[in-house]
Symmetry: C2
């Protein structure tokens, strides 16, 4: 076959035509084989599943390094697949993970790149999903999901054009499926979604009722715009038994030379025909899909394709003998298209696919929390990234190259064995290293941008560099220790003016001046004792300066730390602590009262404005991790993926505690020591109703050889009636009902773990008049195991592997001891009707916080402020409170001095969440461009790879008698009475624009 292809190339080349360029493009649905109406049509989908890091790092996987850990080399996979596709034009292959494809592409010659383009234009190589990775669905935030797809889409669009635009979501490996991701995929223009894993009970039920494929109504807000055809794959994502022809499979090849021993064509053909008949029993049409491939397969594509070629030939040859099986190379999109043309009416689904269990005791809910520190670092990195992108755009520094490593690292980190925490330790370390390198490089942009923005145009002056203090969460900022003076610049990446509370660890006391030169009221507080024992903390700072600031929208303020004349004031200035051991302590401001009992236990929180009283206890507990050998369901161990407690009732970590309360006019705090390795600080700030719980857990004690799963539990008298609510990827809220699944009759085997859901940003319980909302600073797992109770798994340390591949217990260490994790919960007591207004806004503060940068300066405020701006904002007015600037990215500045910007704006309230803010919002995008006039605005799909006007998604007929066809006007309504740059956003709507500015 090889030579045939060469000859085709020859002909094209002899006539001087570039490869295939004059032929009509044959990609897309038009290139699909739709089978035969009277046959069972088997779509062979040749594919490889390439984890963007798992047991090996992404680069180890790419190069095929460290094959002693796992044999996998993606460079060779792609090399090999291209060769095999060139050899036989019948063959098709899909590729998914752009993190790898990009690595490979960069190393290719122009000629090879041209060959690949030819294959893409012929539809022989099809990109599916096309994100940087196949992202996790539980622990990922929607901001990063969108960005990682956009990164992949941009790569594909720029290199290959329309034929490479992915049309299908391909989440074959993630362990549970988020409705939000389906909604985002629909908004990216995808026509369908396939995945390989679903709860074993769900799968069984669907297979029995031929409802493996359905229309997922993926949003409570976006209606048909969010509907997505969704299919469970018949065999995970592997081939049917006996038909794995990969180098690393043991199945027999097709031995078709009758001159040699072991001729097995009849045996293989019969087995395949039987496999096809078996499979179709669970499916609704006369089309079925067979995923031919698996993890890192096709490293030697010839082995797969050579045998598949034979299989197709010999199986179809049986049609003359009456066989009804018609098999051919296809792709997921062609399979989808065949389903679409099959005239079937599909059932629908409105809930999600969490949690996922593969057997009665195998609930994959541990990973919602696994590697809690990495989960936080990933979200922090995104915070930096978004700020850096904005600053790059606003400043015109235009250094996308320096932003790329962080964008790339974040793309990698979204992988379903990255932020999920289900990778080996060495790989987790690599993810963190990549993020840190990305941050370092992105900080070059931040630094250059601030330098540019801070400079008064009329007085350009060299600026001392900014730096980050990444360990502020453990009250450490070494560069400013003993510094005589320094500045703190706080950049607010939201489009709203924001109140921000600063805590800066110091070794001196300072006079702090605001941007206007006014001295700011500060509190000098002791750093809680528990912080000092955190391994790795190098700081000598024992105190911190606390103060309140108000930051401009999309802008920064600079604060000046100037030496106090009397340095002895350090000690005398420290706010007096009120030690409340065995004495009740109350934290209270204008809005909230937090009461502790004599033993140091949280007792009650009162929303003073609304007079809502919630008796509440809070404590740290642990579940023993199940120590199984995984040989059977009953022996399933708790590990990186699985959360399986030995007992269904957790044990307290201590029965006594030590409480220390600190109270100032503006800040009040209770420091509570639970035991040697668990403590917390519960704080309220002036005029804020949110109660902050900063917990510190670790090193988890395993001296008793017992793995432990540490939860924080909030117990109230709220009559929650089995119901609780968790967000999906930081966006829409889903109702959860204890011990219940909306679509099947649920058999309970794991009362705790089976009720855990991903808490990406918040969880709440409510009753009429009262709601307790807990916001998290990272993804965690949790649920409501009893009415009135919320429990959140914050840190885990297991001594057994759960035998799902990672091959290591989840036993994180640092500084020769177990890892210490610190994090925050923000509690809100409100009415259900007003809770959204709090948690929607506050959640933004958690994931899109102000970025503090420091600079060591010599000058006084007066000298400095003459040369530099001390405050700056990109906008002259805040945007509406229900609008979020999700993306602001300078794409390029052309020679004609036209800037192009990728802008996503978002209505981040749901329908009926708030009487005011659930209304449509009007936004004049010109507001974002104070320096220039918008000359062109093109609305794009969410992934920014297609003009929205060119999007034509496939239409599906659902069993409830509706078509998925949405009238564009109702969803993308623009009013003629508005300015051309003003758009309307409906609840939960994200609009994506490419904006040209003069």
């Amino acid at each position: 076959m090889y030579i045939i292809t060469v000859l085709l190339v020859v002909l094209a080349t002899c006539y001087g035509a570039p490869h295939k360029s004059k032929e009509p493009v044959a990609c897309g649905y038009d290139s699909c084989n739709l089978g035969q109406a009277d046959k069972l049509n088997v779509h062979i989908v040749a594919h490889t599943h390439d984890d963007v890091g798992w047991l090996k790092t992404v680069d180890q996987y790419f190069y095929g390094a460290r094959n002693n850990i796992q044999h996998a080399g993606v460079q060779y996979i792609i090399d090999s697949v291209i060769q095999s596709l060139v050899q036989n034009p019948d063959r098709r292959f899909i590729y998914v993970e752009m993190a790898f494809f990009w690595r490979w592409w960069n190393q290719q010659t122009d000629d090879m790149q041209a060959t690949v383009k030819g294959l893409v234009n012929d539809g022989r190589l099809e990109f599916i999903s096309g994100g940087w990775c196949m992202n996790d669905e539980a622990a990922t935030h929607y901001n990063s999901i969108i960005d990682q797809h956009t990164l992949g889409f941009e790569f594909l669009k720029n290199r290959f054009g329309e034929c490479a635009r992915p049309k299908i979501g391909w989440q074959i490996d993630p362990f549970g499926h988020s409705r939000e991701l389906a909604s985002l995929f629909a908004q990216m223009g995808f026509d369908g979604l396939f995945f390989g894993r679903a709860d074993y009970q769900d799968y069984e039920q669907r297979n029995k009722t031929k409802t493996m494929e359905m229309v997922w109504k993926a949003s409570d807000n976006l209606d048909r715009k969010s509907w997505l055809f969704t299919g469970l794959l018949p065999n995970g994502y592997g081939p049917p038994g006996g038909f794995c022809f990969d180098t690393f499979c043991g199945d027999q090849p097709i031995m078709d030379d009758p001159r040699l021993h072991d001729y097995n064509v009849p045996e293989k053909v019969n087995a395949f025909i039987n496999a096809a008949h078996d499979e179709v029993r669970g499916f609704a049409t006369n089309h079925i899909i067979m995923t031919m491939g698996s993890d890192f397969q096709f490293e030697n594509a010839n082995e797969w394709f050579k045998n598949l070629d034979k299989l197709i030939r010999y199986v179809n040859a049986q049609q003359v003998n009456g066989s009804d099986v018609n098999v051919f190379y296809s792709t997921p999109s062609c399979y989808l298209y065949a389903l679409n043309k099959a005239g079937h009416t599909w059932t629908t689904k409105t809930d999600d696919f969490f949690p996922y269990a593969h057997h009665p005791h195998g609930f994959w809910t541990g990973y919602f929390t696994s590697r809690a520190a990495l989960k936080r670092f990933e979200r922090y990195s995104n915070n930096i990234f978004q700020a850096a992108r904005q600053l790059n755009a606003f400043s015109g520094v235009n250094d996308r190259d320096s932003l790329f490593p962080l964008h790339e690292a974040l793309g990698v980190a979204q992988h379903h064995d990255a932020v999920s925490g289900t990778e080996k330790q060495q790989v987790a370390d690599d993810y963190a290293m990549r993020l840190q390198y990305g941050i370092d490089r992105a900080f070059e942009v931040i630094n250059a941008s601030i330098a540019k923005l801070i400079t008064k145009p009329e007085k350009p002056a060299p600026m001392t560099p900014q730096f980050l203090c990444p360990y502020l969460n453990i009250s450490e900022c070494l560069p400013i220790e003993k510094a005589e003076r320094f500045t703190l610049t706080l950049y607010n990446p939201t489009v709203h003016v924001r109140t921000h509370f600063v805590r800066i660890p110091v070794t001196n006391d300072y006079t702090v001046k605001g941007p206007d030169g006014q001295i700011i009221m500060t509190n000098l507080l002791k750093i809680p004792q528990a912080t000092f024992s955190i391994p790795g903390r190098k700081s000598f700072a024992e105190v911190q300066l606390e103060f309140r600031t108000v930051l401009p929208a999309l802008g920064f303020n600079t604060y000046f730390f100037e030496p106090k004349s009397d340095q002895e004031s350090l000690i005398k200035n420290i706010v007096n602590e009120k030690i409340s051991t065995n004495a009740a302590c109350i934290l209270q401001n204008q809005k909230v009262r937090v009461e502790f009992d004599e033993a140091g236990n949280l007792k009650q929180i009162t929303n003073l404005e609304k007079s809502i009283v919630v008796p509440i206890t809070q404590d740290f507990f642990y579940y023993q991790s199940f120590p199984g050998n995984n040989s059977r369901s009953e022996f399933q161990a708790s590990g990186a993926y699985i959360f399986r407690p030995v007992a269904q009732t957790p044990s307290p970590l201590s029965t006594t505690r030590k409480i220390t309360c600190v109270q100032t006019d503006t800040y009040q705090s209770a420091q509570i020591i639970i035991n040697d390795w668990v403590s917390q600080q519960i704080s309220i700030h002036d005029a804020q109703s949110v109660v902050e719980v900063e917990w510190t857990v670790g090193p988890i004690d395993i001296k008793d050889s017992v793995g432990k799963e540490i939860i924080v539990r909030y117990d109230t008298d709220i009559k929650s009636d089995k119901k609780y609510y968790t967000d999906a990827n930081g966006r829409e809220i889903l109702e959860r009902v204890r011990d219940f699944r909306p679509t099947w009759n649920y058999t309970i085997a794991e009362p705790v773990s089976g009720n855990y859901y991903p808490i990406n940003s918040r969880i709440y319980i409510k009753e009429a008049g009262r709601q307790l909302t807990v916001l998290t600073d990272r993804s965690e797992g949790g649920g409501s195991i009893n009415d009135g109770s919320i429990e959140i798994l914050v840190h885990r340390r297991t001594l057994y592997d759960d035998s799902l591949g990672v091959g290591e217990p989840l036993n994180e260490t640092a500084y020769d001891t177990g890892l210490v994790v610190r994090g925050r919960h923000w509690l809100i007591i409100e009415t259900p009707e007003k809770s959204a207004l709090s948690h929607r806004v506050v959640a933004q503060d958690l994931y899109m916080a102000a970025i503090p940068t420091f600079s060591l300066i010599k000058s006084t405020y007066e000298e400095y402020s003459q040369n530099y701006r001390t405050t700056w904002s990109a906008v002259t007015e805040s945007l509406p409170l229900n609008v979020h600037l999700l993306t602001f990215d300078l794409q390029e500045i052309t020679a004609e001095n036209i800037g192009k910007y990728l802008v996503r704006v978002e209505h981040y309230f749901e329908n009926n969440e708030d009487t005011d803010y659930s209304k449509p919002a009007l936004v004049d995008l010109q507001t974002l461009f104070t320096q220039g006039k918008i000359t062109d605005m093109v609305e794009l799909t969410l992934g920014a790879n297609l003009e929205l006007k060119d999007l034509n998604r496939l239409q599906w007929t659902t069993a409830d008698g509706k078509s998925s066809k949405s009238s564009k006007s109702s969803l993308f309504k623009e009013s003629n009475s508005l300015k051309a740059t003003t758009i309307i956003l409906n609840p939960m709507e994200i609009k994506t624009f490419l904006i040209s500015v003069q």
Copy 2:
């Protein structure tokens, strides 16, 4: 790189030229890169070592089936290598085993075949060795070695022409190296030989003295014609540590993208330069070879080549920084050519490389005997094959297709894990099955040929078919049981009139008539009791008819078994047995007397003609197989490869025996029962001096959980003075000296095993006036552990694997018990001066025996002989006694009725072995063609793939001041005074001709 190649093809194709055909051929030495004089030149030889069966069968290996046993798929290797060669014209690869290449080639399209031809003509794909397999060197017979190479060479010559002619022997894996094979290689026109294994002491010594490469003087008879440049490879046949880039290796790839993590170019380059410097220390010139590949590697050639491309590029780039290492793709022949041009003077060697030990207790001498039954079956199969080929040619049946399966199966069976006995049981079974299938198919030719030859031309009459009785060795021939009458046709495949002794198991007594109708004197003998208990024997025959025949040269006689009128004679006709328990027994004829003592022990053999008396005892002993775990040299177990006895003194299998003597005028025999599972029959025939010992061993008793190595030991008073003599592959004799190695100071660790050598056909000891020669019917291992003694390992059963890969103990079973093996030793007592005349001739009888075929007939002799020939000979006169017709093969019959024949004639005596027969022999080849006139005679190299006149082997200068250049005239001398068809053969000379006959 891929596209570049495509473009080259494009250009060629656009101008209408077939691929490369108009370009000068660039294969052969002229295509070699000879490096740089001032550099250390590293020849990278990319290769795969593909065992023609070992852990899997040859077809399992070819297809990549049963990869659970061992991952290996040769079809993919060749697919993949071709792709990689096409991609980059710098790359080179060698391929060795035609058994695989033939399988692959048959499945390719014309286009792919054209591509491969282009690669061969470019020298990018080079065939090395080019036999059907890489044959074993210990257990193989020269007849089959030559045939298996000829089979491969013929394939290559017919498909590819001169560029594919192998020039190098490549015996990288065989475990010990035969001088005879080197001699045969020289005669095939090879310029050199490389191998990977040599005794660890030898290797160390050579590496220290830079004598890893030498000129091997490979024959005591053929002088320079047998000299062969020989090199030990530096690293077995694998790559240096850290540079294995195969899919199945764990070494790190070259990670050269500085944008990614783990960039390792400097580290890899330095390691490679160090490896080259390390290696050259053991070698004599500034050229070294690095074998890049190993067992079944290059299944994904791209992985190897991609990294080698990089390695070459980056290592050579260091030359600008002063590196002296120059590395490039090469081949073994190009490396050889560079050595040839290096102007070095080479040391020489005259002995061989047996036995091979890889550590002090790891002597690979067990395999000389392992699978004794398979070893015999292989040699028997060759016997059938040669007879069938001859008959095919003489009869003009011209059915090479039916001969091919046996030729192919024999080619496969020569493999160094086939006849060697070092394969898994399932593979041994497959080899046997292939041979049996080959015999069945070849028998179609025998049958058709006999039918044709037996028919009187004037009276064509249908002939009842012939059949073989393969179990005659256990006195079983089921089809003739109870048959009223049948014929026995005996075909003699030698060129000499031959006396043959027939023993036919019968259930009736018969009158036997010879070809002339005369009744033949027969003895009706009891079949020895021990035969009846051989598992699997189905025959009801308890008696056998014994008689003497004389067969024509290259012809047959038919014998007629006709019913005796009085069937009760069966019992009364049985020769009376003389039971000699506790009584001495003497077997005696005109030539030899064999005496047993009262206890049944052999006591003395006397050559009556020469009055040579040799007191001789003989017994069966066993060594305990060493039961080690192989973790260290001391714990080396005895297994399929290794013979390692626990103690150095063997134990007798029994101290008592039962002897039964039978004596007739023409036949005398002593049946001796040693124990339940060991027995023997010692016989002499009328007028024959040879004493036949037919031993039956097995099932070896392992109820004591002790593996056993069974030897037959002959102890005499011959003062052999540590010396003993064994043949190499059935041809020349090598002198062995106990506890001594000719080329190094030998340290003894295994007194028995270290003195074992392959006994392919014979072993002898001698003193002035007396010589004891033992001929074997198959390859066995043995030696002379004490003066006057010969011991031969005849059967083995081990309970431990020797950890050299086979993964099974050598524990053969059949019929649910240990395998029973029966074999023969023929003893000759002679003067040393006259021994050769006996053993040379008798050895021919053993390996090229007359083939008995049977036919059930209805007619009487008189009726039969009117219709059919009862005797026939291809020749009108015998050839000289010292000449052997090694090959007689009808190549083709053309339309013009010209037959072409491949003929090899051989002088099979050595120089000075016999006063008469060591003289040159004159042979008129026309003698072989009674039916037609020789019209053309072209002398070829031994492998029949080159006219001898076109052969120009490379010349080497040796340290003894000689050049290897041989004057052709002295070796291939023809005398003008002789007929054109008459040739002269010097001792041990084989001449190969392509003869055209009208």
